[in-house]
Amino acid sequence: MTTTKTPTYLEVDPDNAIRALQGVGEKLASGDETILNFSRVMRIEPGALRALEALAQAASEAAAKITLRSVNVEVYKVLKLARVASRFSFER
């Protein structure tokens, strides 16, 4: 019998996105699933993009899953251009 971890949900505050993303990265453990709600992020700043890149790296190393929820299409395009999008899962 296997146990399934309950995903961690986190609302991403656009004014505090870098710190929030860094915090998620620091706490990742193997098998974790984290869902980040981006619904309030209308525009992504360079620091937040770098933090997302680092988070993707950390998740890959920890074999954890990060899902980005409700990503604005403009922000989604930035993630595609920066070649970060493929490193996350997305849900509506």
């Binding site: 993009l49 930035v78 070649r83």
Partner: protein
């Protein structure tokens, strides 16, 4: 920087990857900026560049030892202020242009990461220019300056970068490669995340950029010819050439290289040059100069001479010149490798050539142009506009500068209204992708959003149509000095020609030309035209069926426009409004064409079509143009009362086919539908009556009108695949047109009503509606049925029943054509039917295999298959059908 043949180390690759990653991230972030955002960044960058113009010029001269500080400062100012003046109001984000009348919107998409090579000759100005363009277009740039100009360029990048970031540009938007090798450049040129290479520099850099397989703007060497023609303002020309060629010691690649001077002014021009501080070399000095500043092995200029002062070059070569000499002028006797000074010289040495004629001068300029200058720049000083234009046509150059300095003229915005630039596109002649002055639009992917535009439709009919019994009496309303009646023997024999003659105003001079009762050929047309010319006809009356009226249309065309080439006018076309061949509009004679139809089918009296036979070549020539449409149509049933039964059927079924095909045509409109539907209704009601009771005046009248009404519909909506099949089949087996149509008709209705294998492109239609149009016709005929499918089937059955009533053979087999014979003919039939233009307006695009299937269905005859399920109607479709 020495070339490093060893592979890049892992550390070096990591460094380069870091640069690309940084630029990629910056470009991604930058993509979120608005037009206002970028404009807010660009302006302070321009101001920073202007403030640092002199400083950067000094750094450039100190580092490169090339050029003139003051001129370089000026170039930095042009690269900032002039470029800004050009771009400041340009939209480069989101919607950049809108063309509402064309339904086109252009949108900007940034490129992303640009890898940019900058030259030694114009180092800082090129960097300033490219930085401003990149920010204006939301791109990130990795700069790779010429190794001998790295410090000044990196300083220019730093100034631009700091200002840009301070005002909102993303970090990492500009980076400058540290000391680098050709391997570094190659690595970046091939990097998947580099979207564009912008290489301004020597041929090597440009070639490397284009060889990388990446989109590239490669802007390289030139060799600017100048033609100083005898009508030129010589004082202006001499000053302009000196200004240009000495500007930054001649380092701008658009500067003048060889001036070709007309013999008549040659000595005067050289004197003026001498008066203004240039040194005119003797033959020996010129030879010495050529041997020194041009590499005899490669034939190219010596790098050590680039951007040096004239006095320094003279001293180095061993030519004595006055201390303030600006320019060395070397007469040459020809152009090519044996005349070293005829190549590009990016220093103040100018070749001059004495030309003894305009022809010689132009040829010499062409020679210079082809000696390394293709696609770049050329200059002419002349007040003879014809020669200026001839020069423009002969010389392959992206910039042809007239009566102004080459270098500063080509930069744009100073002496002319060309786009200010520091990168000259040299077109294919120079191995480049553009001849433009490179500008912000080359740093963008321009997306064109094209909205569906409603097709322009038309509805054209003769000016006047007179119909019903004794309509011919209206002829008295058409005064004429000389009228020629064209008709055929049977109509003359039964007195129809006399009826027409009597209806004309009494004072009219009337002549009658009788032509054979058959499709006209070229000989008949020529005879008719001869008669029209002989009688100086101002009115032509065509009395007959389709053949006579078609003949009259072509006779009128040739009478009015004798030069009209019928073979050319018959060239195929897809859209009558976009056809290649235009019908003549200039006329030597003017005449009115009145068409009186004596059959109830072709409707030629109102159509813009005419068919003739070219017996010599054994082909039919179909002409189609609205100018062929008769001016007046008379639809008088008295001329059809005696029509034999067979002709009544053939022409009546032809009329029905016209109406049904126009009804479902992709060019159908509310205007044509109203005619097509009415004609179908009239044929179903009155054709059987006219067939059964030929003397029934009402039935004859209604069928005669129906033929004209159906023709009005198909004149504007055209016909379809039924006609294509019938034309090929009728021609092959000698079957009357109406009968051939009848054999195909039920099968074509079923075919068009089913789901198409291929849809026809039809901007006028909002959905596939053929099946619903047939259902609408079934409703109009009161055939019953609840669903579209049922109604279509009822229409097919009703059509079958109508054809039965008319005694039409119901299968090709019934005509006595054996299966083997038909099978043998099938390849030609299918090919000819597919070549027939009639189906181009059919709602379904027929595959050749489908044409074959249709032919076999017609061969077997009865038992038309149920149409395959047609698309379910949507709301839009229903609207389209209304």
């Amino acid at each position: 920087m020495p070339d490093n043949p060893t592979p890049l180390s892992a550390e070096r690759i990591a460094y380069l990857e870091g640069l690309v990653s940084q630029a990629r991230t910056a470009a991604a972030i930058f993509s979120q900026c608005t037009q206002e955002d970028v404009d807010r960044i660009v302006k302070p960058m321009v101001i920073a560049g202007l403030k640092q113009a002199q400083n950067l010029a000094r750094l450039a001269v100190e580092e490169t030892r090339i050029g003139v500080l003051e001129d370089k400062a000026l170039k930095n100012m042009v690269a900032t202020e002039f470029v800004y003046n050009y771009i400041k109001d340009k939209r480069t984000v989101g919607v950049i242009h809108e063309y509402p009348d064309r339904g086109i919107v252009e949108l900007a998409e940034p490129i992303g990461v640009i890898f940019s090579l900058t030259p030694i000759t114009n180092p800082t100005s090129t960097v300033l220019f490219k930085c401003i363009m990149a920010i204006k277009t939301r791109n990130a740039v990795i700069f790779s300056p010429h190794p001998s100009a790295w410090r000044c360029c990196s300083e220019a990048v730093k100034i631009m970068y700091e200002t840009a970031v301070k005002h909102g540009a993303p970090e990492g938007v500009f980076t400058c490669l540290e000391s680098h090798t050709l391997q570094d450049n190659a690595y970046l040129m091939h990097h998947k995340d580099v979207g564009l290479i912008d290489a301004t520099g020597g041929p090597g850099a440009v070639k490397a950029a284009y060889s990388s397989g990446k989109p590239a703007l490669g802007v390289g060497a030139g060799n600017t010819p100048v033609y100083l023609e005898k009508t030129a303002d010589l004082d202006m020309a001499v000053v302009d050439i000196i200004t240009s060629k000495t500007f930054d010691n001649g380092t701008i690649c658009a500067s003048e290289q060889t001036v070709v001077i007309d013999d008549e002014i040659y000595d005067r021009v050289l004197n003026k040059f001498a008066e203004l501080g240039t040194h005119i070399c003797s033959e020996k000095e010129a030879e010495l100069l050529g041997q020194t500043v041009i590499d005899p092995t490669t034939g190219f200029m010596q790098p050590m001479a680039v951007g040096q002062k004239a006095t320094d070059i003279a001293r180095f070569v061993g030519i004595k010149v006055k201390p303030n000499t600006k320019l060395l002028i070397a007469p040459i006797k020809g152009v090519g490798r044996e005349y070293p000074l005829s190549v590009e010289k990016l220093f103040p040495v100018l070749a001059v050539y004495r030309a003894h004629s305009v022809d010689e001068a132009l040829k010499t300029c062409v020679d210079v142009n082809h000696l390394g200058g293709l696609g770049h720049t050329a200059v002419i000083f002349s007040n003879n506009d014809a020669i200026v234009r001839q020069f423009g046509n002969l010389i392959n150059a992206g910039r042809i500068i007239v009566n102004s300095p080459g270098s500063i003229g080509a930069l744009g915005g100073v002496y002319n209204d060309m786009v200010p630039t520091f990168s000259f596109g040299c077109g294919t002649g120079g191995g480049n992708s553009t001849t433009d002055n490179v500008n912000v639009y080359h740093y963008l992917n321009i997306k064109r959003m094209a909205r569906r535009t409603p097709a322009h439709m038309w509805f054209r009919v003769p000016n006047q149509i007179y119909f019903n019994m004794n309509a011919v009496e209206n002829l008295r309303n058409f005064p004429s000095r000389s009228t020629v009646i064209i008709s055929n023997p049977p109509l003359e024999q039964i007195g129809h020609v006399d009826v027409v003659r009597r209806s004309l105003p009494p004072q009219t001079q009337v002549r009658v030309t009788i032509i054979p009762d058959a499709e006209p050929d070229i000989k008949i047309i020529a005879q008719g035209v001869e008669a029209l010319n002989f009688y100086k006809a101002d009115q032509i009356i065509a009395l007959g069926g389709g053949s006579v009226i078609d003949a009259a249309k072509i006779m009128k065309l040739k009478y009015e426009s004798p030069e009209a080439d019928l073979e050319e006018l018959a060239a195929p076309f897809l859209d009558i409004r976009k056809r290649v061949v235009q019908y003549p509009t200039e006329k030597v004679n003017h005449s009115r064409l009145i068409a009186i139809s004596t059959t109830s089918g072709t409707g030629s009296e109102v159509t813009p079509f005419a068919v003739m036979t070219d017996k010599e070549r054994g082909i039919k020539v179909t002409l189609a143009d609205y100018s062929l449409t008769p001016d007046v149509a008379i639809v008088d049933p008295q001329f059809v009362m005696s029509m034999p039964k067979g002709l009544t059927v053939d022409t009546g079924v032809d009329c029905l086919t016209h109406a049904l095909e126009a009804g479902v045509s992709i060019f159908a409109s509310a205007f044509t539908d109203s005619n097509a539907m009415q004609a179908v209704r009239m044929v179903f009601k009155y054709l059987p009556e006219a067939y059964e009771n030929p003397r029934d005046e009402e039935a004859r009248t209604m069928m005669h009108n129906a033929a004209c009404i159906a023709a009005i519909a198909f004149s504007n909506a055209s016909v379809g695949v039924n006609h294509a099949l019938a034309h090929a089949f009728g021609a092959r087996f000698g079957i009357a047109h109406g009968r051939a149509n009848a054999l195909m008709l039920p099968h074509v209705i079923a075919y068009n009503a089913s789901v198409p294998t291929k849809f026809m492109p039809s901007p006028n239609q909002r959905a596939y509606v053929a099946h619903k149009k047939y259902a609408m016709i079934a409703d109009l005929l009161g055939l019953g049925g609840h669903t579209v499918e049922e109604k279509v089937q009822k229409l097919i059955t009703a059509t079958e029943q109508l054809l039965d009533k008319l005694g039409v053979p119901r299968s090709i087999a019934e005509l006595g054509i054996s299966k083997d014979e038909f099978e043998h003919a099938m390849p030609d039939l299918a090919k000819n039917a597919f070549d027939d233009p009639s189906w181009r307006s059919n709602p379904r695009m027929p595959l050749i295999s489908e044409l074959v299937e249709l032919y076999w269905s017609a061969y077997r005859g009865r038992g038309v298959d149920q149409p395959k399920a047609a698309p379910k109607p949507s709301k839009v479709e229903e609207e389209a059908c209304v």
